[in-house]
Symmetry: C2
Subunit: 212 residues, 2 copies
């Protein structure tokens, strides 16, 4: 599939369509119109049809979309119709919560290794990932190779994040979910998704302060 040139917001909305479709599926509804999807997500039906059109032909005029088929196809587009082995660097509070977060596994992301350079943590396990013994960061390259890992979650303090990112990328990881509050400098063929929790609250404080 040709994906170059597809706007990032359209890909992001694909995730939202999928989430909504999965919730519709759980109510035993089997077809859905772009209008119904749009109402639920506060988007126009035109926007939804336009986004989906980047990826092929979907739905039938007058009937709408087959929910199951659309779920299957969006999962294939997003690459979550397979299981991804994911590693986590950082076994602090945030790392612990992330390891216990069941939403990842539901989407096909399987945590297969946890790393931290705190000597007091190495060899122990996180309560959310009881089978995974925490390993030193120096063990990353071997593990990436052994488990064919392409995605990693960075949950280390700001000052360690760039070093960790460089090790991950050298080892062959191609997608980083970064929770550290710093901008990572990585090669252009590495995808980075950043979640800075304080920045999220800061944006809310701006909007609330401005009376939205």
């Amino acid at each position: 599939m040709k994906t170059a040139g597809i706007p990032a917001p359209a890909v992001r909305r694909l995730s939202l369509y999928l989430r909504e479709l999965e919730s519709i599926w759980r109510t035993d509804q089997r077809t859905v119109s772009s209008k119904q999807l749009g109402d639920a997500l506060k988007l126009t039906p035109t926007q939804i049809r336009k986004d989906l059109a980047y990826f092929g032909q979907f739905g039938q005029a007058g009937i709408g979309y087959d929910v199951e088929e659309l779920i299957t196809r969006i999962r294939r587009i997003l690459g979550t119709d397979r299981t991804w082995n994911v590693l986590l660097v950082g076994a602090g509070n945030l790392g612990m919560a992330l390891s216990a977060y069941r939403g990842f596994a539901k989407k096909g992301f399987k945590l297969v290794a946890v790393f931290d350079d705190d000597p007091s943590k190495i060899g122990k396990t996180l309560s959310g990932a009881p089978g995974l013994h925490i390993q030193p960061v120096s063990a990353i390259p071997a593990m990436v190779k052994e488990k064919d890992i392409r995605l990693a979650i960075i949950a280390v303090p700001a000052e360690s994040a760039q070093g960790v990112a460089s090790i991950l990328v050298s080892a062959g990881v191609r997608g980083l979910l970064n929770f550290a509050p710093v901008n990572l400098d990585v090669a252009g063929n590495v995808a980075v998704s950043a979640v800075d929790l304080a920045v999220q609250l800061e944006q809310l404080s701006f909007q609330v302060g401005a009376g939205v």
Copy 2:
């Protein structure tokens, strides 16, 4: 300050400028050019000057920006020159991690109450917030009034999130940081910032699968 009509991406970048300026400040550098800021953030100097121009006059030609002054002014614009009382709903793994996350306090967000409807949790405390006894969701309205709370963090399962959001908004909360994987339906004068961790990984899997 007039903030209507300022594009959301400009406000978002303001947070990134602030983060970078704070990091420059820690290196004892006292002035910075839009070029240096741009290089660090992979933005053009023009973009930075344009974003800042929405909020007033900044910097001096040939000298650049006074780092401390720019930090002060951006904090004021974002509303983080004051302390915000924040409440957390959801005392599971994610709630526990969020309560222990020191990045919030650094930005002026003070966690003042934790709520959960699990009877086994009520009255206990989270390790990250030892002084805050977990209260039932029914106690939210009184607490919002007592502590003048405008911002809340929702870290409950998907199926409880809308109910919690409605209670918060009725109580007077005006900004929601939502970690539940659902779209919240709230009044137009309520700001919602959503962090769906699985969606973040899904977007990475798309990019990695597509070879970025």
